[in-house]
């Protein structure tokens, strides 16, 4: 974990996600899952969060120049923010379409790049927002009701 803050409001965890290193993809989501288990959060909810953060982690590794995942756990809510350092998405509506992908051949050979990552995240979360500026960044915000 790269930082861990706890106060009256709740817990904030922040993890840096690297780029292009497929061998460690999943480590951040595993760590988040472990924390949620320790907090005795409902198993079904943990699975949804785990799936969503895993897909996010894959996306950052495959498509971005690196970024971070921030998890905020407050009383009735888990908020997850994923922000990368670009290169941004030209058309977010197109990116949200099931099956649309710009993943490399290398990524596809490993079973990534099915064009299901963003739709999976949306399906798993209670609230989903995607914002991107081409040439600059992509930011996803997800909320899960506890």
């Amino acid at each position: 974990m790269n930082s861990f803050i706890t106060n009256n409001e709740g817990i904030v965890l922040k993890y840096i996600v690297g780029t292009d290193d497929f061998s460690i993809v999943g480590e951040v989501s595993s760590k988040i899952k472990k924390v949620l288990k320790q907090l005795n959060i409902d198993n079904k909810l943990i699975r949804r969060v785990a799936i969503a953060t895993y897909e996010a982690e894959v996306n950052v590794a495959i498509h971005s120049l690196g970024g971070y995942i921030e998890v905020e756990i407050i009383k009735n809510e888990i908020k997850i923010k994923i922000r990368d350092n670009g290169p941004g998405i030209k058309d977010t509506n197109l990116a949200m379409e099931k099956g649309y992908s710009t993943a490399s051949t290398k990524a596809r050979e490993l079973g990534f790049g099915a064009g299901m990552g963003l739709p999976n995240m949306k399906r798993c979360s209670d609230e989903f927002k995607i914002e991107s500026k081409f040439g600059e960044y992509t930011e996803l915000n997800m909320k899960f009701v506890v």
């Binding site: 497929f22 061998s23 993809v25 999943g26 480590e27 989501s29 595993s30 899952k33 699975r47 785990a50 799936i51 895993y54 897909e55 894959v58 490993l110 079973g111 990534f112 099915a114 064009g115 299901m116 990552g117 999976n120 399906r123």
Partner: protein, 114 residues
């Protein structure tokens, strides 16, 4: 059915040094990791020809009972080592998807009779 049942009764090879007494709850097959994340269920046996490190993260997050490599697919020692650390069962068989599914269907029918 337990993972060990596939080893004892159907000749599957457990290539990890892990707990094969785990109960299998259904079977799922896909090589696209997003499909697996979206459609797999906890306790599933997962059939895949992908044999790289990332299958371990998926199996662990989804809490699968085991990974089954069909067609005698080869796997690196590095992956086996990591699977041992994370206690993820990896089984190998020469069978194809059809024959593996047939085992599960036969076992389910057998269990429903009992």
């Amino acid at each position: 059915m337990r993972v060990s049942n596939l080893i004892t009764n159907y000749g599957f090879e457990l290539i990890t040094d892990t707990d094969s007494t785990v109960e299998i709850n259904g079977v799922y097959s896909s090589d696209l990791l997003s499909f697996v994340m979206a459609n797999g269920n906890s306790g599933n046996a997962w059939i895949t020809v992908q044999a790289h490190l990332n299958i371990l993260a998926v199996a662990s997050l989804m809490e699968f009972s085991c990974i089954i490599l069909p067609y005698g697919v080869q796997i690196d020692n590095e992956v086996v080592k990591k699977a041992n650390e994370e206690n993820i069962n990896i089984l190998k068989t020469e069978l194809d998807h059809h024959d593996i599914y047939k085992i599960f269907i036969d076992e389910e029918e057998h269990e429903s009779i009992l």
